[in-house]
Amino acid sequence: MSSISTPFSTATEQATSATGTQNNFDLNAANATLYCTGAAPVFTGFTVGGAAPATGARVVLVNAGSGTVRVAKEDSGSTAAHRITSPSARGQIVGVNGSITLVYLGVPSRWDVVVVEPGAPITIPYTAGDFTATGSMTWTVDSGDVQALRYLQQGNQLTLTLLIAASTTGGTASNGLFFLLPNSFTVATQGTQEGVHGSLSDGTPYSGAGVWVIITATSTTKVAFYKPDFANIALGTNNVAVQGTAVFYID
């Protein structure tokens, strides 16, 4: 009996503890469920039984670990016919208990991301340099000021949550605070403000829509926060808070 199952047979379970970048990762069957327990694997392409996949081959990646699982789009680390295409140029990443379903398309000879369950929100590691401001103003966010910093990605849609309190602004007062998006995510649509709601306090609280502004410059990798009237943010020590959740589109 062939060891390679047909695309429409019962899914074969496969487990991997692979970590890091995985090029031309071999699946045991053309209809596979791959349980990933390793730390943050990034798959750039799949083979089936050591060969190029056939049209209709299917794999469900399940994040059974405690980190993330990611597929990269059109990554040259894998042979062209084994590569992955996806709605987002950044591929797709899922959190704990998330899953990514891919189906192999004969044309264009690529694995296509067809279903995503984002899983648990993914925590963004704290990096001081991710917090900046407009003009000559500085925004200093200490690690202890971060109450939450997390996101979910589902195709081109990113849900970002920031809960920052008791941070500090310095230098010359200006009107905007910036946060660098993770994973080199890039804002796709200029001026997008769908689903934004947050608050900003510089000693005086401001809240509601208009506090979060997805920066309007082309191909930007930051989100921006302004007071609703775009007035300067007061300089202060340990009294600047930025909190909220935004849903917007990435490339």
């Binding site: 200490d142 309190a165 941070s167 000693g203 005086t204």
Partner: protein, 126 residues
């Protein structure tokens, strides 16, 4: 290096943020507050290590700060008026003072500080 200390309060009302911060900054000019309204946990931050006396004083401030009210919130907003809002009030004051000066006998000018305090006081009564 900033130091954080988490406090749990027994009070059942939310403290007025501006009053609380003023009390805490009287203890340490760098004090900052992290708090989710509706919870009893407060994380206070300052530039230097918390000492036992400071922790006791901060706990007292958390428990005794005036409760949040619409009036106190309005006063805090008035205290933070930007140029545009102050210009509106003070432009009216200029005209009022002009009228006062034309009276017989003329009345003295009201200062900007006096009128802003009066606005603040009025907010406290509404």
């Amino acid at each position: 290096m900033s130091d954080y200390h988490t406090f749990t309060v027994v009070r059942t009302t939310e403290p007025d943020p501006a009053s609380l911060l003023a009390q805490l900054r009287a203890l340490d000019a760098t004090a900052g507050v992290q708090h989710m309204p509706g919870t009893k946990a407060f994380t206070l931050k300052k530039a230097t290590t918390w000492t036992a006396p400071q922790i006791t004083a901060a706990q007292n401030a958390l428990e005794t700060a005036p409760a949040s009210t619409p009036q106190l919130t309005a006063q805090a907003i008035i205290d933070s008026w930007d140029i545009a809002q102050r210009a509106f009030a003070l432009a009216l004051l200029d005209q009022l003072n002009l009228i006062r000066s034309k009276l017989s006998p003329p009345l003295g000018a009201i200062t900007p500080a006096q009128v802003l305090q009066a606005i603040r006081d009025k907010a406290g009564t509404l």
